[in-house]
């Protein structure tokens, strides 16, 4: 009896909001989609952006080096070259139709950003300035090309601010510091999405947002790893919510490790440091990338450079035999370091207390970017299966999504491009669907389930702390499912992740209150991380080849005959092995070739 009364009370306490469209996430992908929606639907449209952080805190703001487009402002360039580089960079696991859209749309998208106010660096003629970046080449691989458009070394900050500013101007409705924890899917996995359920952090209240179209733009999940460039808040919430709802996750085994993370800290030192001429040195002072990638050297693609560093360390040529190497930027001079790379130079001075003009910088590969995520078509529509069925009313864009334009390894500057191009395209497609979509049906079950889960967690009196389990998960994923993998390591990793998940069912939080309960938030986020880790390792165990970021000692070669296909992993509702399905890669122009840089 008491339970019934509690449920009724919980239901009554849920606050509801009726909107036309809901965007979850206020990074570049979410904000661009919201702007486009508003522009297409007019000032009357009720477009809500829900974000667990204040929009300007989103991790898009941490992106440094640039966003690429074949503008050809400083030298000859063509979007087809960019297309080729993207496909090759992704070790041919890229869907070439999607990459074609991205590279062609890039030019218009970047120009439009300038029109919105983005403070790009300029050439002497006043055009958007461009610089070199890893894996971006002229004429199908002949040598580096200047394709990255940038605002010093804080391009992401400039993008995030510009889009947020224009959203303020467009009077988009913002729900800041609301954490989405479930989707409204009243008809189950075969039905459509009609909203989201969120916690308002300030009050702890459950809010139900009802809308005819929902976009997930919740970013990545680098926090499954110990050393990462990702923010504490990048916990894969959206990815995990989709997975729990029975939707597939695509290519989760591919997680990019960026070569130049600050040793132990993981913070990123932009590839722009090598783009401007920085080089990598091993413990013998040798520029070892010349051996691994004779043409592109230090600017080969990230998976190649990270693996080369790992190899040098494994063979005892780390610095003093330890697990790091050096980045040498001393020769770039004060002007380049202070004017083109001021933030990077500042990080080195602040966190290492050394001077990049005179000292070598200790670096190690850092977990950086999720190539995989919620599968979508080229207009952001979420796919329900490997055959192409879409989920009505549900969209995803940005790092939480997988279109797939990055395949097995993303090129630098292609993520900012991805979030902009596909965020915008999702906005356009949503606006179209809204015109004919039926009114949203509420999902009272989901609302209630969230209330129950939260009060249960709050009420629990003993158990383990989330932080302990999280730290073990991060260590585990870093050592057994990171740059270097093998069948044995992955199998171990899988069963250990399961054991952690089991332990996480008995968490306890100290904070029993309602107001800004960040203890509760971290417990929920641990749940999301565990789901992302599980999907990652399950997909990795099954893929018996090495491709891009997924490198296995026990099957070191790429195997196109068997594995030129995307993984679609589905969660087992009973907690057993995930169900894996596969989808062919779309190859329209570039036949898979061995990858040499």
């Amino acid at each position: 009896m008491t339970l019934v009364r509690t449920d009724a009370a919980a239901r009554a306490a849920v606050r509801t909001h009726d909107l036309d469209a809901v965007v979850v996430g206020a990074g570049g992908a979410g904000l661009y989609a919201a702007l486009e929606l508003k522009q297409d639907l007019g000032p009357q449209a009720r477009i809500g952006v829900i974000s667990k952080l204040y929009p300007t805190r989103s991790h898009t703001g941490a992106a440094q080096g640039g966003v690429c487009a074949a503008l050809a402002n400083t030298e000859e360039d063509h979007w087809e070259w960019h297309w080729f580089d993207t496909v090759k960079g992704g070790d041919y696991l890229v869907d070439q139709d999607a990459a074609e859209v991205m590279c062609r749309d890039a030019i218009e998208t970047i120009i439009k950003l300038e029109h919105l106010g983005l403070p790009f660096d300029r050439t002497p003629e006043g055009l958007i300035n461009q610089r070199r970046f890893g894996g971006h080449t002229r004429n199908y691989g002949e040598g580096p090309v200047r394709r990255s458009c940038y605002a010093a070394d804080r391009t992401g900050h400039a993008i995030l601010q510009t889009l947020y500013q224009q959203c303020i101007r467009a009077e988009i409705l913002f729900y800041d510091e609301y954490q989405v924890v479930d989707l409204a899917m009243p008809g189950g996995p075969d039905g459509g999405v009609s909203g989201v359920v969120a916690l308002q952090l300030a009050t702890g209240e459950v809010h139900s947002f009802r809308a005819r179209a929902v976009l997930f733009a919740t970013g990545g999940f680098g926090k499954i790893y110990k050393v990462t460039s990702n923010a504490h808040t990048l916990t894969g919430d959206g990815v995990a919510v989709a997975w729990r709802r029975g939707l597939p996750l695509e290519d989760m085994e591919f997680f990019q490790f960026h070569p130049t993370g600050m040793y132990k800290l993981g913070f990123l030192l932009s590839e722009a440091m090598r783009g401007e001429g920085g080089i990598l040195l091993n413990g013998e002072g040798e520029r070892f990338m010349e051996r691994y990638a004779p043409t592109m050297k230090d600017l080969a693609s990230r998976d190649v450079v990270s693996r080369s560093i790992y190899q040098e360390i494994a063979e005892g040529r780390g610095i003093d035999g330890k697990d790091y190497v050096h980045l040498d930027v001393r020769h770039l001079g004060a002007q380049v370091l202070n004017e083109k790379l001021p933030d990077m130079s500042g990080f080195i001075r602040t966190y290492f207390g050394i001077e990049p003009l005179t000292d070598l910088v200790p670096i190690q590969p850092t977990a950086h970017y999720a190539m995989g995520g919620i599968p979508t078509d080229i207009d952001g529509r979420v796919l329900a299966d490997e055959l192409g069925q879409t989920v009505p009313g549900f969209y995803a864009a940005g790092e939480c999504a997988c279109v797939s334009v990055h395949g097995a390894n993303r090129l630098g500057t292609n993520s900012l491009l991805d979030i902009l191009v596909f965020g915008r395209r999702a906005g356009i497609a949503m606006a179209q669907e809204l015109r004919s979509a039926a009114d949203p049906e509420p999902d009272l079950e989901a609302e209630l389930a969230v209330s129950r889960a939260v009060s249960e967690l709050r009420g629990r009196q003993d158990g383990e702390r989330a932080a302990t389990i999280r730290a073990e998960l991060q260590e585990l994923m870093f050592t057994k499912c990171g740059v270097h993998r093998s069948g044995r390591l992955l199998e171990e990793c899988r069963s250990e992740v399961r054991a952690l998940r089991e332990r996480a069912r008995h968490l306890v939080i100290d904070d029993k209150g309602c107001r800004y309960n960040t203890d509760l938030v971290e417990a929920l986020e641990l749940g999301f991380l565990l789901d992302c880790a599980e999907a990652t390792v399950e997909s990795a165990v099954a893929r018996m080849e090495s491709r891009g970021a997924h490198a296995r000692e026990d099957c070191p070669e790429r195997d196109d005959a068997a594995w030129l296909k995307h993984t679609f992993a589905f969660r087992d509702p009973d907690g057993g092995d995930a169900r894996l399905a596969y989808k062919p890669v779309t190859v329209t122009k570039f036949e898979p070739k061995p990858r040499v840089y």
């Binding site: 952080l53 204040y54 300007t56 805190r57 989103s58 991790h59 703001g61 941490a62 120009i111 300038e114 029109h115 919105l116 106010g117 403070p119 790009f120 660096d121 300029r122 050439t123 002497p124 003629e125 006043g126 055009l127 958007i128 605002a151 010093a152 804080r154 900050h157 400039a158 601010q161 510009t162 500013q165 224009q166 303020i168 101007r169 300030a202 923010a231 504490h232 808040t233 800290l265 913070f267 933030d343 500042g346 990080f347 602040t350 966190y351 290492f352 207390g353 702390r465 932080a467 302990t468 939080i509 100290d510 904070d511 209150g513 309602c514 107001r515 800004y516 960040t518 203890d519």
Partner: protein
């Protein structure tokens, strides 16, 4: 080399406390640890109720400005070797405390939104390409475009403490970013906002803001440039 650090934190949870109080914690730290790491140690392993904001952990998102040893700093940028072995942490001043180190930022965002912090220009060049802007023109707002909206400057300003109606240094910095942008078409409107009695004239050049800014933005210089611009436009 680990050190024993005493962390004194100003705590206040309106759900449970009637007033704010100090609590002390002992943590082990490396000299290169950041104050944010210490707060995490407390939150993760000693007392999960400790409440603060943070995200990027390396000084770019603006989440964790707080008063550390009496100065407004980003917790993720301040190293133990500089902070010492007795560290006090309090919320920023001048904004209502919601819980522990977490303050109500809404008044700050309101100030920000009030200065039209967006480019106004809907004309597109005929060739459909980017608008031209020379490196020199861009350089005029380079400095102020670096703001991360952390509120360290505004909450260090004695004028703001005594009168929350003052628009505050952060909002002026963000107005400057557009006032100095040759592409913008709302120049005069924005200057009018700045010339309001609660606008730029309220600045008493105490320089606290410059001292507090983690991005080393030359805030008082920006304020001066805005006042000069107002004088030029109004023909004085």
């Amino acid at each position: 080399m680990t050190m024993d650090v005493e962390l004194r934190i100003r705590r206040f949870n309106p759900e449970a406390d009637t007033e704010a109080h100090w609590e002390a914690y002992r943590v082990e730290a490396e000299p290169t640890d950041r104050v944010l790491d210490l707060l995490h140690q407390v939150k993760w392993y000693q007392d999960g109720t400790l409440t603060f904001r943070r995200s990027c952990a390396h000084g770019v998102c603006g989440s964790d400005a707080m008063l550390i040893n009496g100065r407004n700093l980003l917790a993720c940028e301040y190293l133990v070797k500089d902070a010492g072995t007795r560290i006090t942490v309090e919320p920023m001043k001048g904004l209502p405390v919601i819980k522990d180190l977490l303050v109500d930022m809404e008044p700050f965002w309101e100030q920000y939104r009030s200065v039209m912090p967006y480019l106004v220009n809907d004309e597109v060049p005929e060739d459909g390409r980017e608008r031209r802007q020379s490196p020199e023109e861009r350089a005029r707002y380079e400095d102020t475009s670096r703001c991360i909206l952390c509120a360290a400057c505004t909450t260090a300003c004695p004028v703001f403490w005594t009168d929350g109606a003052y628009v505050g240094p952060a909002a002026i910095v963000n107005a400057h970013r557009f006032i100095m942008d040759t592409r913008d078409h709302a120049h005069e409107e924005r200057l009018q906002i700045m010339a309001d009695p609660d606008g730029v004239w309220r600045c008493r050049t105490v320089f606290n803001c410059v001292e507090a800014c983690p991005r080393d933005i030359r805030i008082t210089r920006a304020i001066m440039e805005v006042t000069n611009e107002i004088s030029t436009v109004s023909g004085e």
